[in-house]
Amino acid sequence: MKKLSARRRHPLAAIVVLIFALAATGGLYAAFAPAKKAEADDSASIAVEAGKKLYLSGCSTCHGLDAQGSSDGPPLVGVGAAAVDFQVSTGRMPLQQPGAQAPRKPEVYTPAQIEQLSAYVASLGVGPKIPTANMYAPDGDIVNGAELFRTNCSQCHNFSGEGGALTQGKFAPPLKNVDPKHIYEAMLTGPQNMPSFPDSTMPEQQKKDIVTYVRETTHKEPNPGGLGLGRLGPVSEGLFGWIIALGLLIGCAIWIAARTPKARTK
């Protein structure tokens, strides 16, 4: 704050204030008219500026003032808008504390702010763009998606998207209740230790098929036996049920063998 007030007489101060005011207006406008896309060059550059402000206050501590990265965070030049949108709108960024992996948590920024942050980071270098709604709409080919999922994703996320452990506290998160957009962005950008599946090796349509399969299995498909246990399969689930039932049976056995209560006769 001291720095800020010391520089309020700087010749560029007026411009900064002006830009800030414009950005705030733009942000408010975007918040109230979400359906309308900021198409014109002006509003785009305003978003970039607003994003930069947000970036400097919220992200630069770890990712560096020019997004060149530091020992606490990777460089963001060229990660693209999709990566920012994924990380920030799933609440993974900003990071709460250093650890093996950033977990999903309630998001900190509003959708409008996330858009500005993405715009700013996208302006730093070419990277994957935020996918449009029809790219990740879950209406692709489920069968093909299932096969692609089994070859490329199931090793970490389990064949029904339940997630699983990796090394040293890292893990592949479950895919249940994940927005199709975020599934798509994760494949596109490879967040944290997840490898990416760029369009050059996994074309758009195939990513769409995978999203379709994931949504189908994790959201719609019922679990006729109940208590899926990560869909480990009937044998392991049966074993688990058997062990629990064994406890109940032991309880019954104790009841059967217990001494019958006697009447206290004098």
Binding site: V143, E147, L148, T151, N152, Q155, C156, G164, L166, T167, K170, A172, G190, Q192, N193, M194, P195, S196, F197, P198, S200, T201, M202, P203, Q206, P222, N223, P224, G225, G226, L227, G228, C252, W255, I256, T260, P261, K262, A263, T265
Partner: protein
């Protein structure tokens, strides 16, 4: 059976005598204290309690009947495709849950009723049942031995060593037929375990797209699964994905590789860089422990984790094992870029892929 038998119960099994009268003799400090005195239950002395117990038992049996009727009704009346959401169990098949639940209740209530009946209303007098000696009496034993020796001498086995020896020989040889049948376990693998479908010049085909791969397609941090060119056409499912042929699974299972691009400066081994192309390296996807497919690639650490027993391979260091039970590094496939600009294998794997086997030095 109780009251008359009592007279025959040996002294030590009779109800306990008052403590003052029971002083253990010096010679036998662990004398059998015998059965405790019989104490009546509430239901034995209170007719009302007994009637209540009777009603409880009957109640359990009636519940069982109702549950059985419920079972039949669920079978007939619930649509087998109906899915309901039950707290804690999640979305489950309504009929499945109803059938299991009602049958369980029906059986449990029969058992519980019977036990409650036995514990409250059936007699609970302690009854002693005598146990008899297990050994037969001397005459029977003598008779059996006499019969046996008589049989042995009647068979002349002692006097005819030729018969005795050949019989033992015949019986010893019979199990050999079983050993010979082991041959049916299949043809010997020959050199099959040492070779995969990779041949010099075979292009790498992206498993997701079915197309050859250009070096630029593989970006840093990405993961791509690949198979040798021609494999799908030769053994593949040809559009019928359900009917995977045995050849397909066997060949694809051995030849599967994964492709990653590493920063050349991160790669510790010169040979690994030389066997790749500008940091793109290809590794077998089959774990060297017991052969699970591995693909848990952590792009920031360059570690590849096997889901089966957590062997971890460092893809930036010749696929060396950094953790877990695997004893061998992950085999790397030597690749180059061909005239068409596609990635291709320079040779087959230099060592057998997958789990170690007996004859592998």
């Amino acid at each position: 059976m109780s009251s008359q038998d009592k007279s025959e119960v040996p002294e030590e099994h009779l109800p306990e005598v008052p403590a003052s009268a029971h002083v253990p003799a010096e010679s036998d400090p662990f004398a059998d204290p015998g059965l405790p005195a019989h104490e009546p239950r509430r239901t034995d002395i209170d007719e009302k309690a007994a009637n209540r117990a009777e009603r409880q038992v009957a109640f359990l049996f009636v519940i069982s009947m109702l549950a059985t009727i419920g079972f039949i009704w669920s079978y007939v009346g619930i649509d087998k495709d109906r899915i309901i959401d039950i707290f804690f169990f999640g979305k489950i098949g309504a009929q499945n849950a109803a059938l299991g639940g009602t049958l369980g209740i029906a059986l449990f209530c029969i058992g519980a009723g019977a036990i409650h009946w036995a514990r409250t209303l059936m007699t609970d007098e302690e009854i002693v049942q005598e146990r008899h000696e297990f050994t037969s009496d001397p005459e029977t034993r003598e008779y059996a031995i006499r019969e046996f020796t008589q049989g042995a001498s009647d068979s002349v086995i002692g006097r005819r060593p030729l018969i005795r020896r050949t019989m033992i020989g015949a019986m010893a040889l019979v199990p050999l037929s079983g050993v010979v049948l082991l041959r049916d376990l299949g043809p010997m693998p020959g050199t099959k375990l040492r070779h995969t479908e990779w041949k010099p010049g075979k292009e790498l085909i992206n498993e997701a797209t079915g197309l050859p791969i250009k070096p630029d397609d593989i970006v840093k941090g990405s993961l791509t699964m690949a198979l040798p060119e021609g494999l799908v056409e030769k053994y593949g499912p040809a559009g019928q994905k359900e009917e995977l042929s045995h050849g397909w699974l066997e060949k694809a299972g051995m030849s599967a590789i994964l492709l990653v691009r590493l920063e050349p400066k991160d790669v510790k081994s010169k040979k690994e860089l030389a066997w790749g192309h500008e940091g793109i390296v290809a590794y077998s996807k089959i774990c060297t422990h017991v052969g699970c497919p591995i693909g848990l690639y952590e792009q920031q650490t360059h570690h590849l984790l096997c889901p089966c027993h957590q062997s971890t391979f460092d893809l930036a260091d010749d696929g060396k094992v950094v953790f877990g039970p695997a004893a061998r590094s992950l085999p790397q496939l030597k690749i180059h870029v061909n005239e068409a600009g596609n990635l291709a294998a320079s040779q087959d794997f230099a060592e057998p892929v997958g789990a170690s086997f007996w004859e592998r030095g």
